[in-house]
């Protein structure tokens, strides 16, 4: 577990004596004068190996919107071999290349029980693309080998040689229109234990057959959409935040984030070609 370094804090240089890398992601400094309504611990799953299409954007949006709602985010990373953090309020995980998925596979399986317990208890989670697949029952590759998932979601994924790429617009009963961008060759089918996030109005979604996109189970939102997903879908971000705050403090008193750029970005994104 590696705490996100506070802004301005020095990062230890590595063994080779090189100056510290300054390219990692950092939260902007906190500058709110108002007292915090509470602290929410957000854990990013495997950001080192599973962060290929702007997955940092989802973690950043959760942290910044927590601030804009008057809460203090505590953003932690969980990478392969780390000790799993205690008292987790919110989990976010992203996609990776095949090589990244191989690196985390064993570690993820070793964390199956703790993640399952958190999921069953109602901890809000967002899992995108690769971690969506691995939160399911299995991923069967094109060559027939089966990569086991941790089975939190009643879904199964089959590798194909067709890559589904492009802008996606999803119509979701809970969150309205969800906008994003898909890029995957695994095709996922939902079992009876989960519902879809929504139906794809533009783009493909889970697979090229049933028009469904993503999965919902308890407070887990699973999706193939990058974009990053949360910046242009503040309703989804605020669902995760509200759920985390209500579980920890009993009630959520929202602030008033300025979503005018998000609204305009959604309007323009919706008009772009597939």
């Amino acid at each position: 577990m590696t705490p996100q370094s506070p802004a301005g804090a020095s990062v230890p240089s590595n063994d080779a004596g090189h100056p510290p890398l300054s390219f990692g992601h950092e939260l902007p400094p906190e500058d709110s004068p108002a007292p915090s309504k509470g602290t929410i611990r957000v854990v990013q799953l495997y950001p080192r190996d599973m962060n290929i299409y702007g997955d940092w954007g989802n973690a950043l949006v959760l942290a910044q919107r927590l601030r804009w709602h008057g809460y203090t985010p505590e953003l932690l990373e969980y990478n392969v071999g780390d000790e799993f953090p205690a008292k987790v309020d919110l989990i976010v995980g992203g996609g990776g290349q095949d090589s990244g998925q191989l690196v985390i596979q064993d570690d993820l399986l070793s964390r199956e029980s703790v993640l399952k317990e958190l999921a069953e208890n109602g901890t809000p989670m967002l899992v995108i693309c690769g971690l969506y697949q691995l939160f399911g029952k299995f991923f069967k590759t094109r060559t027939g080998s089966v990569i086991p998932g941790i089975g939190i979601l009643d879904v199964e994924t089959h590798g194909t040689d067709q890559r589904l790429i492009g802008n996606v617009s999803v119509s979701s009963p809970e969150f309205g229109t969800v906008l994003g961008y898909e890029n995957h060759s695994g095709q996922t089918t939902l079992g009876p234990g989960v519902s879809a996030l929504g139906t794809a109005a533009k783009g493909t979604g889970n697979n090229s057959n049933d028009g469904q996109e993503g999965a919902r189970y308890r407070n887990i939102v699973a999706s193939y959409l990058h974009g990053s997903l949360l910046p242009k879908n503040p309703a989804l971000a605020d669902f995760l935040i509200r759920t985390a705050v209500e579980r920890k403090y009993g009630s959520f008193s929202p602030g008033a984030p300025d979503d005018s750029y998000a609204i305009l970005a959604r309007e323009h994104a919706a008009r772009r070609p597939r």
């Binding site: 080779a16 004596g17 992601h25 400094p29 702007g54 990478n79 492009g166 990053s228 242009k232």
Partner: protein, 434 residues
Amino acid sequence: MFYFSVPLGKLVRRVSRLRGGGSALPGLVVEKIDPGFMRRTLSTLPHGVAVVSGTNGKTTTTKMVVELLESQGLKVFTNRTGSNFTRGVAAALLGEVDWRGRLTADVAVLELDEAHAVHFVNQVPPRYCLLLNVLRDQLDRFGEIDKTAQLLQHIASKTTGTVVLNREDPRVARIAETVHGPDVLYFGLDDSLLSTFPNDDELRAAPGSPVPPAPARPHADVVLRRVGAADADFEYDGVTATTAMKLRGVYNIFNAAAALTLARAIAVRDSVPGESAVADNEGLLKALSQVAPAFGRGESLVVDGLPLDLVLVKNPSGFRLGLKSFPAAGYATMIAINDNYADGRDMSWLWDVEFDTLREGGVDQLSGSRAYDMALRLQYDDVPIGAVNTEIAPALAAFISAAKDKPKRVFCTYTAMLAIRRELSKITTVEVVS
């Protein structure tokens, strides 16, 4: 032997030029009716063919290699129009050959997009290849970064003479293990500069997370030792030479080390027997100091008597390096993000870039079809935003008039840059790119 394909292709080229049409059509025509045209024509060159590929810096590096070789008295054929697809090469060849299909050149230096390079080397095995880097660029086109590395490896596998590799990019350096037969040369960085050039894995690593142990690094033919404000130190043959540089941006200067390595391989190491080409390192360095940036790669124009820098950004690492190479202080800043096919449609990459260096001065103007995606990105990094207008022409005009007394910098994606140059050419001198 006389091939009808050549006069026909040249004719199509003339007609399509008259119509103001695209540069690839004549290439398509000649490819269809005479698939052997390119291989046959290029195989006659005494120094053969050199292919330059990789994610970032192909255009500038190719331009440098060409100018370095010309300084050594070689006549170089290149795909100057930036049409880095196979058809573009065929079209450029048609413009250079005579009506009998003969090409008067000593060597061809070709910039090729990774995926198209694979098709090209299957038709024309190059004598040299220069592989620059593998970074996340337009993954929506190629799928995954490891796939991109495989494309570069394929180029190396078809190369007959010398493979030049970036020692500091693990995915590129690793290609050496698969090269059997050709020589392998590296270009590299001084340890003190390594942190300036994060590779893709380091880009993803957060602060404080351990950097994977560096493998033992092989000897590099050319090492970039130091980058100054207007000069740089390169080490080769055991000596360090300082040279003035017109190029700006540390990544351009690192590509100069790449270009120097390839040019030395072609002109110095493999001089044609009986000819007078000998090691003229001084001439190479002098030529390097004269190289001006390629179209949009740190290009500086003059508007209202003050500089306006155009910085092309097309992937997270390029954007980060651009922000690092061109500090914001004292400059008015505009960012223009389009999402046309050539730019990449997926906007996720903006979230892999940190914009904290723009926080203090803010961004004066945003534009492009995804201006509001950029605005949203800046909002989440607490960067103040001036005006937003998705239309490039009025946005650029507003930016220029609002920042009349300040030097200006525009970060833009590929098609946004084309639009901006078109607008700027109405008010200042802009090099014409056909």
